[in-house]
Amino acid sequence: MTWLLEPLTHAFMVRALLVSALVGCICGLLSCYMTLKGWALMGDAVSHAVMPGVVVAYALGLPFSLGAFVFGVGSVAAIGFVKQKSRIKEDTVIGLVFTGFFALGLVLVSKVRSNIDLTHILFGNVLGISSSDIQQTLLISALVVGLLLVFRRDLLLFCFDPTHARSIGINTGLLHYMLLSVLSLTAVAGLQTVGVILVVAMLVTPGATAYLLTDRFDRMTGLAMASSVLSSVLGVYISYWTDSSTAGCIVLVQTGLFLLAFLLAPRYGILNAHRSQAS
């Protein structure tokens, strides 16, 4: 039992475990919509594009989530604008816009006088998280969970059949931008635990794992949240005991869970698919 309890004697570990479990929870919930809507690339883009926002907010002494949110939504608006006004295909536009934002963030970090550590933004710093950061994460989580729960059915319909949603009078434009805002906020929360580079894993992998395990949306959200929280907590523990990168451990556990589902899932796992073909 010491392996389980000993880390809890450190205040920083308790904080890290709580924050990463919370972030895992909201990322897991959102990841279902990202996988079903096919927005993995969008998640990657937004999570990179928030970087200059974080730097600017720190430099101005504002809450970093505010800056990140502005730049996250701004990048999405820029993607939409360029796509609509030019003949360039969407994935190309996404690729060029988010790298532009990210590059701006890199330059700002190196030029703006501040105590920001670039590696903390890139790879997360959940072991050294401050209490004001925790407050922001709590606020973000409450908002994200609230919105996703209230609009659960509408968002599901929006992902499944937007034409029908529109034809029964649901405002799909509003849902689109709400989902993007939620994505920006969640990316901000996620980058505290695993950093800009790996946050897309949090936004995609739990949903993909759960998608292989069930044909029911409600069960899918439950499974995604469970696998995401489990990997966050387990990842923090493993990183503590092996003294290795926390972000790396969290995402590795997530990937491991995905591989298990990929191989062993009752209906969609490749081993079972082979067996049912053989019989």
């Binding site: 209230v150 509408d154 499944f160 029908h164 949603a165 034809s167 009078g169 044909d215 949306f217």
Partner: protein
């Protein structure tokens, strides 16, 4: 306006669908121009044209997905938005346009037809469950209600989306290529249902490039090629000459 159609339509006062001088363009590219159309309550109408002739653009305009650059649409004497809020318009998609690996059951899909009349949280009331059950019964899918939508055959999936429109209690049904890739049983059942819908006073608009079904089912025909070339009673409009204009790629002079 085609005069035969004008006579047919003016006999009834309140039309289900009125389209006047409708123009739609996408970033300056004209998809539909000066389209006029009026359809009565209780009819089955075929919408015929080549791919890219503007069939889906007309559907998008009727479901509020694109905003017309000119002209106006009235459904049940309401704006498109007003009609949507009254749940008057149901769109039945082509099965190919739907991700059939989506984790929803047949029951869930049909329940989506009820969302518009539920509260914000979309919690089904007993009356919604009754509507879904009745709709599933009419399309003979009640025994498959708990199956994932992906486990159905093409024809069954088509019926599931038809059930959604029934559950919605829409007065206007827009069907995109309903006979594409369906089995004989589904085709027969759909034909029966369309006749029942007509008897119930619904207006059914069937988009297709397959002409064989038109004269079997449809009272009215709309021929479309970037604009409405002609519309009216099937026997009068469905002439070789009109069809040549629809499919011959000749540019009509408005």
């Amino acid at each position: 306006m085609n005069n035969a159609a004008a006579d047919h339509v003016s006999a009834r006062r309140a039309n289900r669908i009125e389209v006047e001088q409708l123009c739609v363009d996408y970033n300056g590219q004209v998809a539909l121009y000066d389209a006029n159309l009026s359809l009565p309550a209780g009819c089955i109408c075929g919408l015929v044209g080549m791919n890219g002739a503007g069939k889906s653009t007309l559907f998008k305009a009727l479901t509020g997905f694109v905003r017309p650059s000119h002209g106006r649409i009235r459904i049940n004497d309401l704006s498109v938005l007003g009609a949507q809020q009254q749940q008057a318009v149901a769109y039945v998609p082509q099965s190919e346009g739907i991700d059939c690996n989506f984790p929803v059951s047949v029951w869930d899909v049909v329940m989506m037809g009820r969302y518009g009349s539920m509260n914000l949280l979309r919690i089904p009331r007993p009356s919604d469950r009754v509507a879904v059950r009745d709709a599933l019964q009419r399309v003979e899918l009640l025994d498959l209600a708990q199956r994932p939508i992906g486990a159905l055959s093409g024809g069954q999936r088509k019926r599931a989306f038809l059930a959604r429109a029934i559950a919605q209690r829409a007065s206007v049904l827009l069907l995109d290529e309903p006979f594409n890739g369906v089995d004989v049983r589904t085709e027969k059942l759909m034909a029966q249902l369309f006749l029942q819908f007509r008897g119930e006073g619904r207006t059914i608009l069937i988009s297709t490039h397959d002409l064989s079904h038109i004269s079997d089912f449809c009272d009215l025909v709309v021929l479309i090629n970037r604009t409405v070339l002609a519309y009216g009673n099937t026997q009068e409009v469905f002439t070789p000459e009109n069809l040549a204009r629809t499919f011959g790629g000749m540019v009509p002079n408005p």
